[in-house]
């Protein structure tokens, strides 16, 4: 059979095609008007600064006088700077203490609240409220409560017959006190996330386990906790990144002291860039932090994919 099929496209009036194209172009133009403010601001204030930061990190720059190229000197200096390694050490210690504690206590509170008892709403509010209080306000409030001379904390200790403590003024206590303050404000966040996840644990699953004779603890261990695993992974990542970036609270309470015992990485970066007028050095340390955060994010991505693979 050699009948040639009629070319449908040609039989279509060319007007239509043009109209379609015109409509497409109009739509495209409109879409660009819609996105351009967002694109301009977001990409302009991220892509440009990233490159600028990188260039800055190869320079000696005080943000005022012309800068000069120093190559990798800033990074080399960082590797040998005892203040930077102390900042890294403090940050890791803070993170290692704060992240697990906030998650465990948050989970415990969520488990306690995920049942029908009185005042659940009140409890949830009280545990969560500190989360909306700004770091500046927290810092000022706890500087007052923990003031060695006039603070309420030492007054309470005095009534209990315990000697007064230095708290934020004591190099051996300050970082632990910062962890405690962060727990006061950050635990509620873990709690509400866990609480929301617990409400998604299918009741039929726990019912079935109980009918099979599993005790409360066994249900928790073998049913509830495994279903919470993705949320825990998320929280671990989130809290770790937050903890590694701590700054406001340190700035308000201790300014990195006493004796550098609470200098965290971001405080170090800020100090170098905006106080000591060594912006290039600050940019280099910011790049080190960003690389570490990126690496952590990557590891978590892989872990999460594994987890999803295992679940499927």
């Amino acid at each position: 059979m050699s009948r040639v099929p009629t070319p449908i496209t040609l039989s279509r009036p060319p007007d239509n095609l043009r109209a379609l194209r015109r409509r497409r172009a109009a739509e495209s133009a409109m879409a660009w008007t819609f996105v351009s403010p967002a694109v301009l601001i977001i990409l302009g204030l991220s892509v440009v600064p990233i490159i600028w930061s990188l260039l800055l990190s190869f320079r000696a720059d005080d943000l005022v006088t012309p800068s000069r190229w120093v190559g990798l000197d800033n990074y080399r200096a960082l590797a040998q700077d005892p203040h930077f390694s102390q900042a890294v050490h403090n940050t890791l210690l803070y993170t290692a203490l704060y992240v697990p504690a906030s998650m465990v206590v948050g989970l415990l509170l969520a488990l306690a609240l995920n049942r029908r008892i009185r005042f659940v709403g009140l409890y949830r509010t009280l545990f969560f409220v500190p989360f909306v209080v700004s770091s500046a306000a927290q810092g000022v409030l706890f500087s007052f409560i923990l003031d060695p001379q006039f603070g309420a904390a030492n007054a309470v200790l005095h009534y209990l017959g315990i000697p007064a403590q230095g708290f934020l003024n004591d190099p051996s206590q300050a970082l632990l006190v910062l962890v405690a303050i962060s727990l006061w404000s950050g635990t509620g966040f873990c709690m509400v996330i866990y609480l929301a996840a617990l409400q998604d644990v299918p009741a039929s699953l726990t019912e079935a386990a109980r009918l099979d004779g599993a005790g409360r603890f066994q249900v928790l261990r073998h049913v509830t906790l495994p279903t919470l695993r993705p949320v825990s992974v998320f929280l671990l990542l989130w809290q770790t990144i937050e903890a590694l970036q701590t700054f406001d609270l340190v700035y308000v309470t201790t300014k990195g002291g006493p004796l550098g015992s609470t200098t965290v990485i971001v405080y170090f970066i800020w100090e170098q860039a905006f106080k000591n007028a060594t912006a290039g050095y600050g940019a280099a340390s910011a790049y080190v932090l960003a690389a570490a955060l990126g690496l952590i994010g990557l590891i978590f991505q892989i872990a999460r994919r594994r987890l999803q693979g295992a679940a499927a």
């Binding site: 819609f34 977001i42 892509v47 500190p130 209080v133 409030l141 929301a196 009741a203 726990t206 970036q245």
Partner: protein, 296 residues
């Protein structure tokens, strides 16, 4: 009391006959969980209670040792000082203005961008969206030094503009709204199309009324992060007429070390707006935080 007989696991389940219904342990007049929860709740509440109490105490009461733990009488000297002699009203206005403009801009620009990415076809949309998403992973510390330099070039340093411009729209707002728009049924919009409505008309009349939850999430989280921010104002602002409350409170504390009642009055003024907003819209706050948290 239902509190005691409700079995702890599967509290969400419809009450049915339980295998352990007959097993009774010695009863407390309340659920044993209160033994854990009540002291914890007290621990969490005490700092804020102390904040409120000390803001209405006199300095004399606070500055003796051991300090009084309860005000003997209501003393509003702290508030009077903070509102009269210090610049707290000015800082409050600054914070309010910055937060208001930032939230509004995020809602408008986030909606426009999010809608275009969700529903419109245009060249480069995938690449742009990918880039925007990637910027969410960039830590602020990496961009803060050059952003300072950009703002300096624009002549915005030491003005409220420096606080507003960098956060006019965040990738988070765009992406969150895009995801929400994608979840809406397309048919609704298509019906309006056929009736000859324009894009903006459809967006305004059909899409936005359905998008309350997503819009309130953007508003809540933008407000919270803008109002509470200290790092960026600290970098971008040095003149005290341009301070936000957070920055003002921090410097005020440094300069008035012994006037604790005034410092605490200032602290109450700083915290109260967020606290009231939270208590007034608690459900929206918690939903915003959990919904974004669980998807991340």
């Amino acid at each position: 009391m239902t509190a005691v007989s409700a079995p702890p696991e599967a509290a969400q389940a419809v009450p049915t006959a339980r295998p352990d219904a007959g097993r009774r342990r010695p009863r407390l007049p309340f659920s044993p969980w209160h033994l854990l929860l009540a002291p914890m709740a007290l621990l969490f509440a005490v700092p804020l209670i102390w904040l409120a109490l000390s803001s209405v105490m006199s300095n004399a009461e606070i500055n003796r040792f051991p300090p009084a733990l309860w005000p003997s009488r209501l003393d509003l000297g702290g508030y009077r000082y903070v509102l009269g002699n210090a610049m707290f009203p000015r800082w409050f206005a600054n914070s309010f203005l910055v937060s208001f403009v930032t939230v509004t801009a995020n809602l408008v620009l986030g909606t426009l961008g999010g809608y275009a990415f969700a529903r419109m076809r245009f060249a480069g949309s995938r690449l742009l969206l990918g880039l925007m998403l990637a910027t969410m992973a960039i830590p602020f510390q990496l961009t803060m030094i050059p952003t300072f330099l950009v703002m300096k070039q624009l002549g915005l340093i030491d003005t409220l503009g420096a606080l507003i411009v960098p956060s006019l729209v965040t990738p988070f707002s765009v992406f969150l709204l895009r995801q929400f728009f994608l979840s809406l049924p397309r048919e609704l919009e298509e019906a309006a199309w056929i009736d000859g409505c324009s894009r903006l008309h459809v967006l305004w009349r059909i899409v936005l009324p359905l998008s309350r939850p997503a819009l309130s999430t953007v508003a809540v989280l933008t407000f919270l992060s803008t109002w509470n921010d200290l790092t960026w104002p600290l970098i971008a602002i040095s003149h005290d007429t341009q301070y936000t409350l957070q920055l003002g409170l921090t410097t005020f504390q440094g300069q008035h070390h012994t006037q604790w009642s005034a410092v605490m009055a200032g602290n109450v003024i700083t915290v109260l707006p967020v606290l009231l907003a939270f208590l007034g819209a608690q459900k929206a706050f918690i939903q915003s935080i959990t919904s974004t948290g669980l998807k991340g």
